[in-house]
Assembly symmetry: C2
Homo-oligomer: 352 residues x 2
C-alpha cells in the first residue's frame, strides 16, 4: 500500500443523504462535502458516488469538473467502505476489499443494515479496473490504518482488537492479516483512539505518517480535554516507536480545537431503529488530524475554533512543499467523521 | 455581619473522623486539618472541637497553642454548621444559628442524620458568650454567603433556591431573611456554583469580597474545564453587578487548578447507608477561592497542581498587605470542601 503522500491519480467520495445521521435532511452536510470535493479537486480528480435518488441533486451541487457516478451506499464514508488500493511496483493497481460491518456489526455498530456499504469497494475497484482481494470474514475499515509506504502500518488496539471486528483472531493473527494484505512488515500499535463509541478509535483522528520516519499526532496540554489522555499516550508511544526500517519516529505535535465542538440541530436528525440516537450537546470528535494528503495539497478540517489557524500553521510547517487548505467541516463532524473519513485516494501505480 | 477581612478574635474548626467520608479512617485528613489550624494560628487563636472518641488524638496531633474542646458533630465543616457571627457596632457579639440539614436534607443532602451538626452553632455561640438568633425552619450554611461588611451579601441561586433548603420561600423572601439576619441591604445573586451535587453551589468555591467594592472570582479560559461555564458566567455577572453602595465591582480573576483533582483511595472510605457513595476518579471540587482571610493572613488551598504557585501569586497581588500562605489540602478536598469550609471566624466586636 503506498503512503498517502505518494502520487495519487484520483480521490473517491460518496454523497451524504441519511436523514437519521445528518441534520436537516443532510443539506448542510452536502454543502460541506461539496466544499471538500472542490478543495481536493485542485490536487487530483474527484469522483463522487451518489444514490439514484440523490444523483441529480449531487450533480447540480457539484461543479462540472467533479465526476458523479451512480453508487448505492448506506452512508457516505468512503475511507471506511471503499477499497484500500495497492500497487505491485510494476504499474499494476490492486484493491483490498475488506469486509465492512458498520464499525462493530451487531456488537456495537452504528447502524444496520450495512450491505450496500459492504458492496461499495467492489464497485470502486471495478471502476478503477483494479483486481480485487476480498477478505471475506476479516473486518477492517480504511480509517483504522495508516502506512508509511516503506513497510510500516500504524493502528490502534482499541479498534482492531475490539469485539465487534474480528474476535476470532488474536493480535498476532491480525498483524499477519495486515502485513500480508498491505505489504508491510511492522505494525505500530497505539492503544487508544479518541472515539471509543463511534469507530472504536480509528487512527485517522489521532496520528498519521507525513513522510517516512515522521508522523503527526494530536496533542494537548489541557488536562480537562476529553482527548488529553489518548493524545498524551499516543505522542509518548510514537516517540518510543521504531518503524520497519528501524528508525525512531520524529513526532510533530498538532493542536486540537480549543473548545468543545458540540452537536447542534439534533432535533432535525430523524431517529431511526437501528441507528445510534443523537442529541444536542453530544461531544463531536473534532481533530485536525483527520486531513487528506493529496499530491501537492493537504485538505484540513476547520471547526470555527480559535485553534483553526494554529493547526493550519503547524501543518504548513510539517508540509513545507504542499499547499495546506482548510475547509469548514463542522457539518461533517456532526455526522461522526471528517475529511479523511469521507475520501479514499487511488495511488498512481506508475509512480516510483 | 462583618466582612471576613475585618479583624478577627478567633477561628473555629472541627476535627474530622467520619470513616464514610474521609479516606483511611480520616487520618490523612486529620493531618491536613492540623496543618490548616497551624497556618491559621499565625494570624488568630484557633479552637478545634473534637468528639469524645477523638479528643485525645486531636489533642496529641495539634500543637499546645491550639485549644481543643469537646464538641460532638456529624462531620467537620465548621463554616456550614457553625454560627455566623454578627456585631452590633457597640462592642456586642451575636450569632445567627441557621437551621442545618446536611446540604439538602432528605431531598439531596449528603448524609443523615445531621442532628449533632445542627447543634454545633449553639455550642460555639455559647463558648463565645454570644447571644444567638436561631432561624428555626430557615436553612442556610455559612459557605453559601459572603458579605462585604458594607451592606452587600453575595450568594448563588443554585444553592439558596435549591429544593432541599427553603422550598416554601420565594426569592424575595429569602432576600428578606438574608438582609434582616446579616444586616445587609443588597443581595448579589450569581446563578451557579461549581458543585451542584454537593453543596448545591456554595459561593465560597466561586467568589468572595476581598475589600469593599472588590471581589475575587474563579476564572479559566479552558473550555473543557468542568467549571468553565460557571466561572465565565460568574465573572461576567460580577463585572455587571453593583453593590449596596452603588459601586461597580472590580473583579480579580483567580486561576483554577490546571489538572483535574480526582478522588484516590476511595476503597478505604467505608460505605454507609445514608451517605453518598464515593469512587476513585470522582472529580473533586478543587478551587483556590476556598481560602480563609484571617487578619494579616490569607490561607489558601494547594493541590500539588501546576497552577498552585500562580494562584498564590495572584492572591498576593490582590492582598498586598497580607501574608498569603498555601497549605496542601488534597485530603480535605477529597472530603468535599476546603479551608474556607472547615473554618469559621469570630470577628472582634470591639474593632471599628
Amino acid at each position: 500500500m503506498p503512503a498517502e503522500y505518494a502520487p495519487q491519480r484520483r480521490v473517491w467520495m460518496l454523497w451524504p443523504e441519511r436523514p437519521d445521521n445528518w441534520r436537516d435532511n443532510a443539506k448542510p452536510a452536502q454543502e460541506a462535502y461539496a466544499q471538500v470535493a472542490i478543495a481536493v479537486s485542485e490536487f487530483a480528480p474527484v469522483t463522487v458516488g451518489a444514490s439514484k435518488a440523490q444523483f441529480d441533486r449531487a450533480r447540480k451541487m457539484l461543479p462540472d469538473y467533479i465526476r458523479v457516478i451512480p453508487l448505492e451506499s448506506d452512508d457516505a464514508w468512503m475511507r471506511d467502505v471503499g477499497p484500500t488500493f495497492l500497487v505491485d511496483g510494476k504499474g499494476g493497481l490492486r484493491a483490498a476489499d475488506w469486509t465492512f460491518n458498520a464499525w462493530g456489526g451487531l456488537y456495537d455498530g452504528l447502524y444496520a443494515p450495512w450491505d450496500r456499504d459492504d458492496k461499495v469497494a467492489a464497485q470502486v475497484a471495478e471502476a478503477e479496473n483494479a483486481p480485487r482481494y476480498r477478505t471475506e470474514g476479516f473486518v477492517l475499515e480504511g480509517g483504522s490504518i495508516h502506512v508509511d509506504g516503506e513497510g510500516t502500518v500504524m493502528t490502534t488496539e482499541m479498534c482492531l482488537l475490539s469485539p465487534g471486528r474480528n474476535p476470532h483472531l488474536g493480535k498476532a493473527e491480525i498483524e499477519g492479516m495486515l502485513c500480508s494484505y498491505l505489504g508491510t512488515e511492522k505494525v505500530i500499535w497505539l492503544r487508544d483512539g479518541i472515539d471509543p463509541e463511534e469507530t472504536n478509535g480509528h487512527i485517522d483522528d489521532v496520528a498519521c505518517f507525513v513522510r517516512p520516519g515522521e508522523v503527526a499526532c494530536i496533542y494537548t496540554e489541557d488536562a480537562f480535554h476529553p482527548f488529553y489522555e489518548a493524545a498524551q499516550a499516543a505522542v509518548k508511544a510514537l516517540e518510543a516507536a521504531t518503524d520497519a526500517k528501524g528508525r525512531r519516529l520524529k513526532v510533530h505535535r498538532i493542536a486540537l480545537p480549543k473548545k468543545p465542538v458540540l452537536l447542534a440541530g439534533a432535533e432535525t436528525i430523524a431517529a431511526a431503529p437501528g441507528s445510534a440516537p443523537r442529541k444536542n450537546g453530544d461531544l463531536c470528535i473534532a481533530s485536525y488530524l483527520n486531513f487528506l494528503i493529496c499530491n501537492g495539497g493537504v485538505i484540513v478540517p476547520q471547526y470555527d475554533d480559535e485553534n483553526d489557524s494554529l493547526a493550519l500553521r503547524q501543518l504548513q510547517a510539517v508540509f513545507p512543499d504542499k499547499k495546506v487548505v482548510g475547509v469548514r467541516t463542522r457539518e461533517i463532524v456532526y455526522g461522526g467523521g471528517n475529511i479523511h473519513c469521507i475520501t479514499q485516494q487511488v495511488p498512481d501505480p506508475t509512480a516510483r
